[in-house]
Amino acid sequence: MKSALFWLMGAVLSWPLFSFIDRRRYRPPREQRISMKLKPGQFVVEPEFVLFQTVNGPVAVSRTCTHLGCRINYLEDEKIFLCPCHQSRFTSKGRYISGPARKDLVTFRVSPMEDGQGVTVYLPA
């Protein structure tokens, strides 16, 4: 009887407990300003993305590997992204080349700043 009461109490309390723990804090989408005017071929490395200036405009490629989420690096000499965890490779546009990732890298929306002296990169929530 005592044991049953114990388990019943645990079962009843588990609902408010998991509801509390599972609640996600609201994190709004972020805007990151790059106050730098890049020429075609130039790029800027940020913790979450690499911003490339191409002839068609700026492109922000995510640095999160699509395999298991490691932060990937851009190798300037080879013009590729390389994941240091399992060696997945991607082109500078984020296209998958080889390795266990199998999916392309995510790209973020970019828009020019009002004064024309840089761009704003929109990072999702």
Partner: protein
Amino acid sequence: MKSITYGQLGTVCLLLSIITGFVVGYQYEVASPFVSTTAIEATLPFGWFWRSLHFWTSQAFVLLLVLHIVDAWNGIKSRNVQRQAKIHWTLISLSIPLAVFALFSGYVLRFDGTGQAAGAIAEHLLLAIPLAGNGLNRLFMAISTEGLNRLYLVHILAGAACWLAGTWYHTKTVRVNSVVFCAATVFFCLFCLFIRAPIDLPQGHLHLIHGPWFFLGIQELLRNFDPLAVGIVFPAVPVVTVAILPWVKKREIKIAYLVLLLWTFAYSVVTLEGILRSG
């Protein structure tokens, strides 16, 4: 004095690890994990010493726990154990993943290059578990959404749970010989004077990150196999096998030994491959 057992040494290491963990925790900031860890390591008085002591005693605890379990099994395998003792064995063997998780989360909490990568991989592995993955991630990790808050909490809880499992549940009392405790403390203090706990830069590895030593094999396997199979199921094989050992019939015990032997051999080979990998 009675002969020193792995269990006794493991208890001492766990105690030292918990004490030094509290000391390091006074200056650790979960909001700026890498900066505070480097501050502990490089600028705070004796920070490197306390951090090294915490790191090495934790490593020693996990190794001694495994040796203790092997030793304990050798002691009881030939005897007829009661049902209650079998349940006890099964429950206490679950302290292996608990201890490994405490050790692993310590790597992540320093949040250098290795720690960040280990945290990201672990979170993805948890999420790969069907149905329960998201809930487990919310309970134990959630680094991408909550930062290191939850992992830090779970790191402390895992250490406390190891202590409770090993003392309150397992032996009912704390069996720490003062001479053994002092000798181990002196040994680790001297050890830490010469060998510091590792730390690297968050962006220190362009081509290759070597994960924690016990994770290298899984890291290797993840190159070619499904994350759920090699990141969750495969590491669970020895834990489950050890947990069910007392329940296995005498004539089938060789199969369990074979599973453990093959697993250890296979994991050693892939770990060696990970150690030798250069890019």
